[in-house]
Amino acid sequence: MTQSIETAKKRKGILGGLALVAVAIGLYWSLAIAPPDAYQGEVQRIMYLHLPSILTAYLSYFLVFVGSGMYLWKREKRDDLLAHAAAELGVLFTALTIIEGSIWGKPTWGVWWTWDARLTLTAILLLIYAGYLMLRSLIDDENRAASAAAILGIIGFLDIPLIHMSVYWWRTLHQPPSILRPDKAPWENVHPAMLTALTISFVAFLLLYFYLLSLRYRVGEMRHEIKALRVERGA
């Protein structure tokens, strides 16, 4: 029992160390080695943050969906804990994505915020999953909160493609596509060093994400164990 906890801790430590190394290498590649963009210059380096963070946010939402579905099906606490942890990290990374987009937008578009389809979509996702966390915290009975949140986790995820479609149509019918979207596929005429920097950043973010997720999950798990122990005491 204690041994498995120790190995789990060690594994988390290794994951955290790997994440740290990957982040360092990623930073070096994206800030020093990758060349500046031909059109946007140095500012384009924000992309090495922006794309990985939105990717991890989407990964989070997918995990919320999977955890919610499994929880409703099997009623096992661990699935709910996973969904809760993933939702919290999803909100964090979505918020970071919006901040990065905004900082990127200032020098490229001249404004901090524009109703670009991507930015808008990300903001809506933030609202949905912030609502998910609100719903959890506003229902007192723990099991009810878990099931209600699971339903919202499923419906929210199913709604994402529809929101995505509507927001993109909304923009494209009213104004030309944003600067962010190149006419060519992104992997054409891109410097190989840029691609490498992006790949390393992706890996770094994923490692960081799973490290934080395992930490957050374990917090939830221990809280649940404490409750279980207290329940034993109550008898």
Partner: protein, 238 residues
């Protein structure tokens, strides 16, 4: 109708409301469910009604395990909440017809009429439930379950709101219901009344079954258990 409860447990947050409850009830069992406040009586009734899900253990009705969405099992279970479970802004008649049609049982006008007759409310069939006193609402509930004829009828402290006449009505209904092979489980603090009606007594104490015996006369083991767990209750030997 046979009811089997297997290692049933329910926890609310930090507390076990019910732990390791086993009970096997044959047809025509009439159980008096006794115990001090907070012993878990209401929790047990709600679990049996399927309104809350157990933390552990199972409930079987005629060999079928009860799950949340088993309509066939739910049709068999009735819960007589004294002045609850009725729509305030429907008339007595409309309430009965609505529930009878949901259960697809005895929903003809004559059936409803005779059920109302039996509880002495035939004259007031078109009054809104909101205008009835809680004693009369309880009578409507009695009529409701008389119509629906559940195989397992649960009652939670039905005596509080009824007058003498109403108590006679209720007890008459419960006796005849039980005689038809249905199971009745009644939680009550009116120990003497409950004991007179029942053919089996169960005492819950801090979430556990501490006593479970078929009624006999005299009953020294019950007297002992009663004094141990319900020392401040009213005298039951009346």
């Amino acid at each position: 109708m046979r009811l089997t409860i297997n290692k049933l447990a329910k926890a609310y947050g930090f507390l076990w409301a019910l732990r390791d409850v086993n009970l096997d009830l044959p047809p025509s069992a009439f159980v008096a469910l006794l115990g001090p406040n907070g012993a878990g009586k209401t929790t047990l009734l709600k679990l049996l009604a399927g309104l809350i899900a157990p933390t552990a253990g199972s409930i079987q009705v005629d060999g079928t395990t009860m799950t949340a969405n088993n309509a066939a099992v739910r049709r068999q279970i009735g819960f007589l909440a004294p002045a609850d479970h009725l729509y305030e802004n429907l008339t007595v008649w409309e309430n009965l017809r609505f529930f009878a049609s949901l259960y697809e049982r005895n929903d003809r006008a004559v059936d409803i009429e005779s059920a109302l007759e039996a509880v002495g409310l035939a004259q007031r069939r078109d009054e809104f439930v909101a205008n009835l006193s809680s004693g009369l609402k309880c009578r409507v509930s009695i009529a409701k379950w008389q119509l629906l004829q559940p195989g397992l009828l649960l009652l939670d402290e039905p005596y509080g709101v009824l007058d003498g006449n109403g108590v006679d009505l209720l007890e008459g209904f419960l006796r005849s219901h039980c005689q038809q092979g249905h199971i009745v489980i009644m939680a009550s603090h009116h120990v003497s009344r409950a004991l007179k009606l029942c053919n089996r007594a169960v005492i819950l104490h801090r979430g556990k079954l501490s006593f479970d015996e078929t009624k006999r006369q005299p009953w020294p083991s019950f007297a002992q258990a009663f004094d141990e767990f319900l020392p401040h209750g009213e005298s039951w030997t009346s």
